[in-house]
């Protein structure tokens, strides 16, 4: 039998992350073409709920590594456990979500196994007989298409695949014992912290007006804030704006901030780094204003304006205010 495709299950707080089902879709396509099985690997402690939810996820088999030592294990120990299991299974490919968790684990696992890892991938498919991944380069303005000739770890961006339809057949669950005595203990998780809710919840807004690096200067923020007000929306931003301290973290959209799906997402001066797109690409209508016609944001936008936000935004604010006064 051909070697399996192994999918690493991402979970937190007893819940399976939505990326897992997307990985299973990618994994199922590969497994079918490679004529192998689709195996889901879940590691952690007290996994009854997680494993229960995975049974009809569409995987052929679930490998469960459930050990008290994994309750507070950090990346080093987690990576070693996954590598231990992978050595036993010898999968053709290991699929991981390119989340902050996957970003940490992927290079560790690949290094321990002595194989290549391809991170940040937006696609994996069989092309001309070879498993081929697509991944961005240079701020996402270019895509590389890479054929894989050997086993590899493939870390896929969230949203690259639709979730897998649940299966009517329950997957077999196999418990895998690990050598937990010899796991590294030089790094331990002390606590998980949830960011306290701030003044605004951008996740609840119907209209989000968002700024990025293109705003250029803190003094310019009121220009866009005025538009957000005029449209009855909220002001949000991409990571660089928070990094320089111009807006608080609670306003940040993206992988490390909030994921939002408003009815309108108006991106002003946001180039569209992958971490940002992850947090807003499912918005109902995306409008992008950017000077650079090659900015990746135009790849997800429904409506685009190639131009200077400092000309378009004030004009739009004025139009919105006039329309509002007519209605009032």
């Amino acid at each position: 039998m051909a070697r399996a495709v192994l999918v690493l299950v991402e979970h937190a707080g007893g819940k399976v992350d939505s990326v897992t089902s997307q990985l299973l879709t990618a994994g199922r396509q590969l497994a079918t073409q490679l004529n192998g099985g689709l195996v889901a690997l879940v590691i952690g402690h007290q996994l009854d709920g997680v494993v229960g939810a995975l049974k009809i996820s569409g995987a052929d088999k679930i490998l469960r590594v459930d050990d008290p030592a994994l309750a507070s294990a950090a990346g080093e120990a987690q990576g070693q456990v996954i590598a231990q299991v992978a050595r036993q299974i010898e999968p053709r490919f290991l699929l991981i979500g390119y989340s902050l968790v996957g970003m940490e684990l992927t290079p560790a696992i690949a290094t321990l196994l002595g194989i290549n890892a391809f991170t940040n991938c937006v696609n994996v498919e069989m092309r001309d007989g070879a498993v081929t991944v697509t991944r961005p380069l240079f701020d996402g303005t270019q895509h590389a298409h890479i054929a894989l000739d050997e086993s590899a770890v493939i870390a896929l961006q969230k949203g690259s695949f639709a979730p897998l339809e649940p299966s009517t057949k329950e997957a077999a669950v196999e418990t895998v014992a690990i050598d937990s005595m010899n796991l590294p203990s030089r790094s331990q998780v002390l606590a998980i912290i949830e960011e306290p809710a701030g003044d605004v919840d951008i996740g609840k807004a119907e209209i989000i007006v968002s700024i990025g690096r293109g705003i250029g200067n803190e003094d310019k923020i009121p220009i866009v804030a005025e538009l957000a007000d005029a449209l009855g929306g909220v002001l949000a931003c991409s990571r660089p704006v928070v990094d320089v301290g111009w807006l608080p973290r609670e306003r940040q959209v993206g992988a490390s901030g909030k994921t939002v799906t408003p009815k309108v997402y108006l991106a002003c001066g946001i180039s569209g780094a992958i971490q940002h797109l992850t947090g807003m690409r499912d918005s109902h209508r995306i409008i992008a204003i950017n000077k650079d016609p090659n900015a990746p944001i135009f790849g997800v936008a429904h409506i685009g304006v190639v131009g200077d936000l400092f000309e378009i935004v004030p004009a739009l604010t004025k139009a919105a205010k006039e329309a509002k006064s007519l209605r009032d």
Partner: protein
Amino acid sequence: MNIAVCCKSVPGLVTDLKVGSDGKSLQYQSQLLAINECDEYALEEALVLKKAHGGQVTVISMGGIKSQDVLYYALAKGADKAVRVDCDSHDPRIASTVLAAALKKLEFDLVLTGTQSRDTLGGQVGVAAASLLGLPFAYAVVGIEVRDEKTIIARKELGGGRYADLELQLPALLCVQTGIEPLTFVPPARRIRARQQPVRSFSVGELGLQTEPLAPKGYRILSVRPPERLHQAELLQGSAQEIAAALLTKIRESV
């Protein structure tokens, strides 16, 4: 506390990026290399830790002679020593192997890197080097607290507003997140003075590595091209007023 900071040199302002004639590589005219922004945050954090706890900061970069500019920049910012490894590879497996070998030549309690480089967007080299060196590690670190000579506490991002606090025994490697410290400005005069400081350089051979295993293997780059877009954005044109009117209509009909 002695800290090694890994800084990649990446093309600076590139306005003429295009796919090469082989269809598999990227070409641009820009000759200017700049410090990778994510790594600059690692450098800032190292300098803040040095100020608080003493020790030396050694900055290390892989690349040809041109990448030395990035090392001078780091010295101007306040790094004590600079090391360049003469190796140019975009393959994360090779880069981490070389970097790990170079780190072995240095004395450090802590290694700091950024999260990813803007050209290859891989984000692998830091954690891969830690794994090769057998160091505990954490990725996307937003805060570092030195507990004692042997232990640090790192807060790392888990995404979606969640964080984990970790205790790590030194030596350890942390990939720091952008924004961990504000970036500081370096006056030009200091940048010029920094060019007089020595930069230690290693060849791959001097690190005890054979060049043959340092060739990429197991994959083939088929092509590099602009992304296929799922749907073409409808582009609005006209005067600012015309565009604003059209946008307002689109926004109104969406809500």
